[in-house]
């Protein structure tokens, strides 16, 4: 077991997959000699060369299109979208092409491309460099969506994404890049659609992912001192989503709070809430609560951003209200 950062874990997953499979290559803006604006691909250019770590022009549609087009012929492109906000410039290639090629060709062709989307606020990154757009992509049939919170999961899920035969959107939160965690010496691909119980508890279930998962864990710690036992589930795979782990948890707790950084309205938390309300209603003892970003663009000032982005205190407040609500 080693303790490494989330960025290092992603870098190792890329390197090990490139070692394993010569068809794996990387595409993105400034990912080559510069190692990427967040340093995620540092050293890979020197190790694998310009043929496999391709610095691209600032052309998101062409970058994703190149990855998708190569994947049709057996290439395993891993495309970096430097800020997930810029995926808006490549939506045709992601949504109309990659996601649908397998379906609209009756299964005759598929686009096994991995799209790494750098997500969330890094602190004062404002409205065009901070968005959490995972719900958009989760809404599109044909895409799989992964959102790891820890270095170990980042490494294992990225390996799974690269080996997956379908297009995968892989969300990475900027504020996690420097966060360290334990990673086994040998990491294989994790099966998709399996959530992780990050902390066991009996009173309330909190489901989260990415950076907010850590806020949920901090809230759980704080609430434990008050005698409230919180179970925290790291969804980590949004599509496919693990209903069984949610069910098992609600069988214990009967209370559900969903937390994410993305705006509340139409966020992935709404889907989780709908699964609970529609399929697990008998287990619920209180209405489902959501603690999410406000329905605003991301503001610049730290005070404003702090108002918009949910934190441990807000999640803890939500849990306290939830404990008081409903039936015993």
């Amino acid at each position: 077991m080693r303790t490494i950062s989330y960025a290092q874990a992603i870098r190792e997953a890329l390197a090990e997959e490139m070692e394993r499979d010569p068809d794996v290559f990387l595409l993105g803006e400034d990912i080559g000699e510069s190692g990427g604006v967040f340093g995620v691909t540092k050293g890979l250019y020197a190790r694998f060369g310009a043929e496999r770590v391709l610095d691209t022009p600032i052309s998101e549609e062409a970058i994703v299109g190149a990855g998708v087009g190569a994947s049709l012929l057996g290439g395993r492109a891993v495309v970096e979208i430097m800020f997930s906000d810029f995926a808006t410039l490549a939506m045709d290639m992601i949504v109309n092409q990659a996601a649908k090629i397998h379906y609209m060709t009756g299964g005759r062709l598929s686009a096994p491309v991995t799209i790494r989307l750098v997500t969330g606020t890094a602190g004062a990154t404002a409205a065009q460099h901070s968005q959490s757009l995972e719900a958009w992509f989760a809404h599109v049939p044909g895409l799989k969506c992964l959102a790891p919170a820890t270095p170990a999961d980042a490494k294992a899920l990225l390996k799974a994404a690269i080996r997956d035969p379908d297009p995968v959107c892989f969300f990475e939160h900027k504020l996690l890049y420097n966060r360290k965690g334990d990673v086994p010496d040998e990491v294989g691909p994790l099966p998709l659609g399996v959530a992780r119980v990050a902390r066991e508890g009996t009173d309330v279930t909190v489901v989260s992912y990415l950076k907010t998962l850590h806020d949920a864990l901090a809230a759980a710690e704080e609430l434990a001192a008050e005698g409230v036992s919180v179970e925290v589930i790291d969804a980590r795979s949004l599509v496919p989503f693990d209903r069984e782990t949610l069910r098992a948890s609600l069988e214990k707790t009967g209370r559900l709070l969903v937390a994410h950084e993305a705006p509340l309205r139409g966020g992935f938390g709404a889907e989780i809430a709908a699964i609970a309300a529609g399929e697990l209603f008998d287990l619920l003892r209180a209405p489902v609560a959501r603690v999410c970003g406000t329905n605003t663009p991301m503001p610049y000032a730290p005070e404003l951003e702090g108002f918009v982005v949910p934190d441990a205190a807000r999640i803890a407040d939500g849990v306290r209200s939830l404990v008081a609500a409903g039936v015993a």
Partner: protein
């Protein structure tokens, strides 16, 4: 360089027959749609057959191509089975896409035909990516992107040409300039007459072909393909042509001046080529008539095949969303 004057008669006849196959395939498709056999969109390429046939005649079996919403001709010119094409248009199970795509998404992976495309310009980045993979493999294969004049106003076109030129990708970009982007005449959708000038901005060579002259298209395409195959990078080929019918079947094309239509009808690529074959290449009219008869028989059988093919079961709608649906979890 290919010397088209030295092509053997059977090769010339084949070009004629392939153009006629496209023409008659689409004329019949329009009738079949009117008769209720085809539920979806049809964007006929009637009048543009020389571009599809001329370009595809310059390709080798390992090459790949992406097409457009007006893609039947490209696919047939590549050698696709008209029976499976009709079956797809009929929305039947034996269709190329198992009735999941229709005209706009038709595909034949064995022929390297990576698909028609419902998004204007959508195939251009995909061909560019395919060319990247072909370059990585280093086997001298080539990718071709077909698109219209309208697509050259899309960012996808500009981004792709820049990338392909920068990386010297083995890609041939073929613009079928039919003078209209949907209902809008070229002079109202772009401030240039020759799309080819856009190549200058990305430092790649360009050539303009008479898109109604199949041999002229073949000559220029063969040169561009040879450059790509030799690792010398991409070329933009502009083929000037005209669609005889509306943007889609049902559009009467009222936005086009009658004298313009008449002028282009007089330059019909199939009629003019047939006349040349008889007058200049010593091919008997009987040979052309035999080719026409063979095309009719082929299409008759193709339509019968489509008609006999079963409809899909409704639940098949849930198949092929994912190659690996994770035991169905990805569909929930």
């Amino acid at each position: 360089m290919i010397d088209t004057d030295a092509l053997p008669p059977e090769r010339l006849l084949r070009l004629y027959r392939d153009m006629l196959l496209i023409r008659r395939f689409e004329e019949r498709a329009a009738e079949l749609r009117m008769a209720g056999f085809i539920p979806g969109f049809l964007h006929p390429s009637i009048g543009q057959e020389a571009v599809a046939v001329g370009v595809c005649a310059a390709l080798e079996p390992g090459d790949v191509l992406t097409s457009t919403h007006r893609g039947h001709g490209h696919m047939l010119a590549r050698g696709a089975d008209p029976g499976r094409m009709y079956a797809e248009l009929y929305a039947r199970r034996d269709g190329y896409n198992r009735a999941k795509g229709g005209s706009l998404h038709m595909i034949d992976t064995e022929l390297g035909f990576l698909g028609a495309n419902g998004i204007v310009g959508g195939g251009i980045p995909l061909a560019t990516g395919a060319a990247l993979q072909l370059k990585r493999e280093g086997a001298g294969r080539v990718a071709v992107a077909f698109f219209g004049d309208g697509a050259t106003n899309e960012g996808a076109f500009h981004e792709s040409l820049n990338l392909a030129s920068l990386w010297k990708l083995p890609c041939v970009y073929v613009c079928e300039n039919n003078l209209y982007g949907e209902f809008t005449r070229q002079d109202r959708h772009q401030p240039i007459r020759d799309v080819a000038v856009r190549a200058d901005a990305y430092a790649l060579p360009a050539a303009i072909a008479d898109g109604n002259d199949v041999l002229g298209v073949l000559r220029i395409a063969a040169e561009a393909v040879a450059r790509a195959r030799a690792g010398e990078g991409p070329t933009l080929v502009e083929a000037k042509t005209y669609r005889h019918r509306g943007h889609y079947e049902g559009d009467m094309g009222a936005y086009r001046p009658p004298d313009e239509v008449a002028e282009w009808l007089a330059r019909d690529p199939i009629l003019t080529f047939g006349t040349r074959l008889v007058a200049e290449h010593g091919i008997a009219q009987a040979a052309l008539d035999a080719a026409a008869a063979e095309v009719e028989r082929t299409l008759e059988q193709a339509a019968a095949f489509a008609d006999a093919s079963p409809h899909p079961d409704p639940e098949e709608a849930l198949e092929h969303v994912y190659l690996d649906p994770v035991a169905g979890a990805a569909l929930r």
